[in-house]
Amino acid sequence: MQPFTTLTGIAVPLLRDDVNTDQITPINRDIDPDWAALLFANTRKRADGSDDPDFPLNKPQFRRPSILVAGRNFGCGSSREGAVWAMLATGIRCIVARSFADIYRENCLQNGLLPVELESADSDAFAARVLSADGAAPFTVDLAARTISGPGGGPIAFVITDADRLRLLEGLDDIGLTLKHAQEISDWEQRTRERCPWLQSAMDSRQ
C-alpha cells in the first residue's frame, strides 16, 4: 500500500449527506473498468446524458482534485471497494467528511486513502473555506501533524487513532500485520477443534 504522509492539492466540495456507493460508482458490468470514468458516472450527468455543469466534479477548476469534502454518512450502501478505487484513479487520496459509513471507511484505510472526520463546527468552517477557495488554491493535509491547512484561515486539527495513522503513514501491509499472529491463529483452530469441533469442519453430510 502506498504510504500517506502529506497531500497538497485541490479540494472539491460535494456537500451532501448520505452519498451512497451506488452514486460513487454505479454497478459495473466490466470486470476491469476504467475506474476514473466510473466516478459518479450517473450522478454527474443530467437526465439527457449530458454532463451536469452544476455537479462540482464537472467544473473546470475541479477536474484534478486531490481532496473530496463531503457531508454525513459518506459511502453508505454497498460494500463495493470500487467506490474507493475510483477515487484513487481520479487522484483523490483524502476525503474529509462529517462522518463515514463503516465499510466505506474501512475500504479507504485498506487502500491508503485518508478518511478524515471533522466535528460539525470544524466541518462547517472547512467547507466554507473550500467553497471560498473554489479550486483556485490548494489545501495541504499533513497526516503526521494531523492538520489540514490552506487558504482562508489557520490549520484545522483532526483526530485519527494512532493505529490508523501509523498504518497509513507507513503504508503497512494488513495481511503482513496479521500474519505476525499466525501461531495464535493455529492455536485458536486447535482449541476450537476440541471445544466446538463443528465450527472447524464444514462437510456435506450427503457425501
Binding site: 463495493r80 471497494e81 495481511i175 496479521t178 469441533p197
Partner: protein, 469 residues
C-alpha cells in the same frame, strides 16, 4: 460480567489483539461471490499467498448470473468474465463452487443458510454488505470489502475494532399481511440510515420471537440499511428446528454437542447495550418507501411528507428525492401507477416470501403494461416452489419466472428497468439508478409488491384481498 450475545460470540472468536489495537476475529464460514472475489483471487496470486482454509470457504455465482430460463455462460456475454474468473479462482484454490448450473446455486445469503452452512454462534463473512442477513440464525456476520476479503482468504481472520451494541426490541404481534419487511422498514425510518453506524444490532422482543427464520433473515438483512455492519437474533427452538437435518449442518453426536452449546447463546439479563430502541409493532400497517433512501418510509395508507416536517438542512435532499421519484409533498402513495414489479433478492426471495406473493396473485392477472418478475433466491427455492405449483400461479398471472440470482436488486446481470418506470420491489435499496437509470423504486414486502402488480398501482394488499373475499 454480564455479556450481550454479540460480546459472547466476539470474545469466543477473538484470536489476538493486533499491535494497531484491532481484534483479529476468526471467521468460521466465508462465502464469496463472483462480482468481487475475482479481484481478490488475483491479488492473492500476485502476492503468492494461499487460501488458508478452503474447506471453510464457499463460492457462489449470483450477482451477474442471467435469470433467463435455460441460461448458460453464453446467455449474457458481459457476465462471462466474472463467471469464468470465479470458476478459475475457486478451482485453483480448492474452494467448493456453486456454479451457474449447480442445482443448489443461488444468492449467497440465501444458499448459505438453507444448506446449513450458517450456524448459531458462528462468525460469517461475505464481501457484500448484506452479509448481515444470516444473523437471523444467531450468527455474527460481517460484510466486507475486497481487500478484507483477500485478508480473510489468506488468514481466516478479519481485523476489526470492536463494535458497539444496540438492542432493538420489537414488541406486539404483527397484523395479518404485515411482515418482517414492514417491521424492518419502519425501524429504519425511526433510526435513520446512519443510526446503526458502528453497531452490531440484536433484535429481540415478542414480535421477533414469533417470527419464522425466513422472516428473521429478512429483518437482519436490512440492518445495513440503517448503517449497522451486523444484526442478529438470539437462536431458539425455532432456529434449531430449522437447521436440523440441513446438509452442511452438524449431524449425530456433533449435532447434540453443538445444540447444547447453542442453547447457551443469549444476552445475559443484566447485559448492557450502548443503545436501546423499542418499537411496538401491533398497530403497524404494510410499509413502503416513497423516496430514494430506505429510511424514507410511510405506511401504505400514508402521504409523502410535507416540506415543513423535514429536518433543517435536509430540504435539498428532500426535494431531490421527490423530483427523482416524480412525487409532490403530501401526496398519497396508494394509487400511484406502477410499470414494474420485482419479487426477489436476498431480502425477500425465500419460499415463504414467494408463497405470500402467490397467495395474492392466485386467480388474478398482472395489470396491463406492468412488467412483473419473480426471481427465486436459490435454485433450491425455485425447485421447492415449482413442486407446489407456485411457478404456475405466477406464470398464469403473467409474471416472468426466472432462474435464481441477484437480478434486479442491483442489476449486475443486466436485469434493469427503464427510465421513468415506477417499480415496486422487494429488494433493499431504493437509491437513484439502483434498478436502472431513472427507475423509481418503492421498497415493500412480497405481498405488497404482488398486489401492486395485479392492481397496476400501489395498493394496500389487505384492501385488495378483503374486497374479493
Amino acid at each position: 460480567m454480564a455479556q450481550t450475545l454479540f460480546d459472547k460470540i466476539w470474545d469466543a472468536h477473538r484470536v489476538a489483539r493486533r499491535a494497531d489495537g484491532r481484534d483479529l476475529i476468526y471467521i468460521d464460514r466465508h462465502v464469496l461471490h463472483e462480482l468481487h472475489a475475482p479481484h481478490a483471487f488475483r491479488k492473492l496470486d500476485a502476492a503468492r499467498r494461499r487460501v488458508r482454509r478452503p474447506d471453510l470457504t464457499f463460492s457462489m455465482q449470483d450477482h451477474t448470473v442471467p435469470t433467463t430460463p435455460g441460461r448458460s455462460d453464453a446467455t449474457n456475454a458481459q457476465s462471462t468474465p466474472f463467471l469464468t474468473a470465479m470458476r478459475e479462482g475457486s478451482r485453483k484454490n480448492g474452494i467448493r463452487l456453486f456454479d451457474i448450473c449447480d442445482p443448489e446455486q443461488g444468492i449467497c445469503h440465501v444458499v448459505a443458510p438453507e444448506l446449513g452452512m450458517v450456524l448459531p454462534g458462528a462468525t460469517h463473512a461475505v464481501p457484500d454488505s448484506h452479509a448481515c442477513t444470516v444473523g437471523g440464525l444467531g450468527a455474527l456476520a460481517f460484510g466486507c470489502g475486497t481487500t478484507e476479503l483477500e485478508h480473510i482468504l489468506a488468514t481466516q481472520v478479519i481485523a476489526m475494532k470492536r463494535l458497539k451494541r444496540m438492542r432493538i426490541r420489537l414488541d406486539g404481534a404483527l397484523a395479518p399481511h404485515v411482515t418482517a419487511k414492514d417491521v424492518a422498514l419502519r425501524v429504519i425510518a425511526e433510526i435513520g440510515i446512519a443510526g446503526g453506524r458502528g453497531h452490531a444490532v440484536e433484535y429481540a422482543g415478542a414480535a421477533v420471537k414469533a417470527m419464522s427464520i425466513e422472516s428473521r433473515l429478512t429483518l437482519c438483512n436490512l440492518s445495513i440499511e440503517m448503517g449497522a455492519r451486523s444484526g442478529l437474533v438470539a437462536p431458539d427452538d425455532t432456529t434449531f428446528t430449522w437447521i436440523a437435518g440441513r446438509p452442511w449442518a452438524p449431524q449425530g453426536a456433533a449435532w447434540d454437542a453443538a445444540l447444547a452449546h447453542w442453547r447457551t447463546l443469549a444476552s445475559d439479563e443484566e447485559a448492557e447495550f450502548d443503545r436501546e430502541v423499542a418499537l411496538d409493532c401491533s398497530a403497524l400497517e404494510p410499509q413502503i418507501t416513497w423516496g430514494t433512501d430506505p429510511s424514507q418510509v410511510i405506511g401504505v395508507s400514508g402521504r409523502v411528507p410535507e416540506l415543513a416536517s423535514i429536518e433543517a438542512g435536509q430540504e435539498g435532499a428532500f426535494r431531490r428525492a421527490l423530483d427523482y421519484m416524480g412525487l409532490r409533498p403530501g401526496m398519497l402513495v396508494a394509487g400511484l401507477p406502477v410499470e414494474r414489479v420485482f419479487i426477489g433478492s436476498c431480502t425477500n426471495s425465500r419460499l415463504p416470501d414467494l408463497e405470500a406473493a402467490a397467495a395474492v396473485v392466485r386467480g388474478r392477472h398482472v395489470a396491463e403494461r406492468v412488467v412483473a418478475m419473480v426471481v427465486p433466491g436459490s435454485s433450491t427455492v425455485k425447485r421447492q416452489a415449482e413442486a407446489v405449483g407456485l411457478d404456475q400461479v405466477f406464470r398464469a398471472a403473467g409474471f416472468f419466472w426466472g432462474e435464481s440470482g441477484c437480478s434486479m436488486c442491483a442489476g449486475g446481470n443486466g436485469d434493469r428497468g427503464e427510465a421513468g418506470e415506477r417499480c415496486v420491489s422487494t429488494t433493499n435499496r431504493n437509491f437513484e439508478g439502483r434498478q436502472g437509470k431513472g427507475v423509481r423504486t418503492h421498497l415493500a414486502s412480497p405481498a405488497t409488491a404482488a398486489a401492486a402488480a395485479i392492481a397496476g398501482r400501489i395498493v394496500d394488499v389487505r384492501q385488495m384481498l378483503a374486497g374479493e373475499s
